[in-house]
Structure formats: C-alpha cells, structure tokens
Amino acid sequence: MSLFSRFLDGWRKYRKPGYYEKFDYHWTMTVDLDKCTGCEACMMACQAENNIPVVGEDEVARGRELQWIRVERYWEGEYPNARLRFMPMMCQHCDAAPCETVCPVSATYHNQDGLNTQIYNRCIGTRSCAVYCPYEVRYFNYYDHGWDSPLEQQLNPDVTVRGKGVMEKCTFCIQRIRQAKDLAKDDDRRRVQDGEMQPACVQTCPTKALVFGDRNDPESQVSLSMDDPRSYRVLDELNTDSSVFYLKKVDA
C-alpha cells in the first residue's frame, strides 16, 4: 500500500471517535469488595508473576514502592466503632484514559484488546502519565533494582525486566493473554474461552473476589458479575470509562 493510500485509508477510518468500540476482546475485571478480606495475596502473586522488584524499606519509606496492585485500606468511623474497608486498586484500563493522551512518545496507548498498554522500551520517563492518572496506579522505576542471587533465577522470562527511568503498571498479565490466544490459534478456535486465562491476582485470590474475562462475551462470568446491581466504577464521574468494576460491600 502506498503511503498516500494508507493516509487516505486512515483518514476515512479514523476521522470519527468510536472505532475503538469494536475491540476483538474487551478484557474486564470485577472486584467483589464483599468478598475481599484484604489478605494481599494478589499483591504477592503480581509481584512474582511480573518481575516487580522489591525496593527495600528505605525506598518504601520515601514513597517509591512498586506494586501493580495495591490493597487500599480505609477506616470508617472512630474507635471502637471503626470499620475497615479494603479496595484492591490496579490499573483500571480505562477506555478513555487520561494517561494515554499525555505520553509524548506513544509509549502508552489503547490496544485492540481494550487494554491500556505500557511499552517499557519506548518510555522516556516524563512521568506525566502518573500525574494524569486519577487512580495513582502507575509506578516509576527510580533506580535499577536488582535481585539478590539466587532470586534472579525466579524471574518470569515472558515479562521484561524494567530498568531505571521507566514507568510500569498492571498489564492484566498480557503475557498470559498472549499465551491463551496462541493456544486458541493452535486449536483453530477463533476466540479464547471464558476462564481459559486468568491474571496472577485473579488466580491467587482465595475468596474469588476477583473475576476476569471478556466483556464482549455476554455469557462470560465477568459479564454476569458486571451486571450485578452492586456494581460501580471508581471515580466514574471523571468519565474515564474504566474496565474494572467494583461490587459494593454490603453492610450487614
């Protein structure tokens, strides 16, 4: 295709917004806060799966922890009537993500799976995406973090080890999604089936508070979970159109 015809083709195709609604998959997660016990197993699973470095005490004290999913704790009321609430917070994979527009080098953009990507080797470290993100789920590598031997032996070969000056965040375990798609192709199946693939956090959650799947499939577990009347999205008023749904905790 010549350059000019590619330009014309692109012009016709992309002039209007909304083309992105026809995603092949629309990966979505629901978090049932009623089931979440705040055990933080998801954080550990994520750390192990995605080669997230342990930054050490000092760095955590300076507020430079790296954790693609965190469990936020909120206290309601005063002691002794205080109630504790948990809210696992990870990248919300917004369809109208504020972080994407600001990246000057397109290191973060929206892909055809409805995912908010982060390309480590394209990132130049302006950190603007972290500022623009209202959920504060983008983490920056302030240093080159190492792994004490023999811990480097447990690194996941399917995930890039990030160096200094690079932004990183939850990918919904893109390496697992890719693997599932690969296997689906081998079997001449056209689509990944529901439940065939789970991110590390979902797989680990002991209470099954996290559910993951394709929103485009109306029968999938996540679609059913999304339609729960308790379902809401965090900071929905900002119109980020996020892909993580939370199911409200119901007080007994």
């Binding site: 992309y14 083309y19 504020p98 892909n111």
Partner: protein, 171 residues
C-alpha cells in the same frame, strides 16, 4: 569595474539633499549609507517595495498546512488509539499546525530578508566605515574624471565634509 564617488555628511538632511541633487543631475544607483535608518529616504530615492511580506505569508501558509499534515499523517501511518479520541484529533493537531505556521513564517521571513537585501555580500561593495559610526554617506558610481568632478561639486555644495573617490580596483 566602476569607480565610485563618496560624500560624507554629518547630518541626514544634507545627505538627502545631496542625494536628491545627484539624482537630478542624472546619477543613477545612488546609495545612502547611514548609522541609523533615515526617515524620508523614500521621497528622494523613490519608494521601495520589499518582497519580504510575500515570503512571510507563503512560509506561514506552508507551515500551517505542513504542520497539520505532519500531525495527521503520522497519526494514520501508525495508528495509536489514545484516550478514546479519534486518530485525527482536531484541537491538538491545530496547535501543532499553529506552531509550525509561526516557525515557517519566521524562517521564510529570514529567507526573504536575505534574498531581498542581497546579503550576505559575496562580492566587494563600496563601503565607508564612518557610516557605521556617525556619518551619513552618499555614494554613486561614476565612470570618468568629468563625472567625478561634477559629483564632487554637487556634494560639496550640499555641505559634504569630505568627498572621496573609491576606485573600481579597490573593490
């Protein structure tokens, strides 16, 4: 190689008078060199038109269009859907096009200046260093001695402090 007659004046008015008289006497391609721009040159030596504005306008126009083409063209070459916006997003692309309008406008203005003022000088040109300090200088090419005497007389009559002859082979 033409010789030149040069008259140094110490105020712009007499230099202008002298230039007017030289022109009246049939001398052509007169030049007035001065340390500051003189007002009223146009009345004596005729109106000047510069092509710079055409350069600026064309440059700005090309800049605006190429700015938009750059932003929109590169966006469709490797489409990266971003923040739910269309690939060809008008408001930001117009900003890029605005900046490039100005950039190309500036560069074209410089080009126009260089073209229309015939700078830089690659060939030797008549010059009097005092003109950069505080003298107003009238120069005119003159071919022979008779012309020179006539010009000298006119210049002196207009109140020249000094009249010099700059020979062609000096240039």
């Amino acid at each position: 190689m033409t010789n030149n007659v040069v008259g140094l004046f110490h105020d712009p008015e007499s230099a202008l008078t002298a230039a007017g008289e030289l022109k009246g006497a049939g001398f052509e391609s007169l030049e007035i060199m001065s340390p500051v721009p003189i007002h009223g040159v146009e009345k004596v030596l005729g109106k000047k038109k510069s092509v710079i504005k055409n350069f600026t306008f064309t440059g700005a126009l090309i800049g605006g269009m190429s700015g938009f083409a750059l932003a929109a063209g590169t966006a469709v070459l490797y489409p990266h859907p971003v923040g739910g916006r269309p690939i060809i997003t008008m408001p930001p692309f117009l900003i890029i096009s605005y900046e490039l309008t100005i950039l190309f406008g500036i560069l074209a203005t410089v080009l126009g200046f260089i073209v229309s003022s015939r700078l830089p000088a690659f060939r030797n040109r008549v010059y009097v260093p005092e003109a950069a300090v505080d003298k107003f200088v009238v120069t005119a090419p003159c071919d022979d001695a008779e012309h020179y005497q006539r010009a000298k007389a006119i210049l002196n009559a207009a109140g020249a402090e000094q009249v010099r002859k700059i020979r062609g082979d000096d240039l």
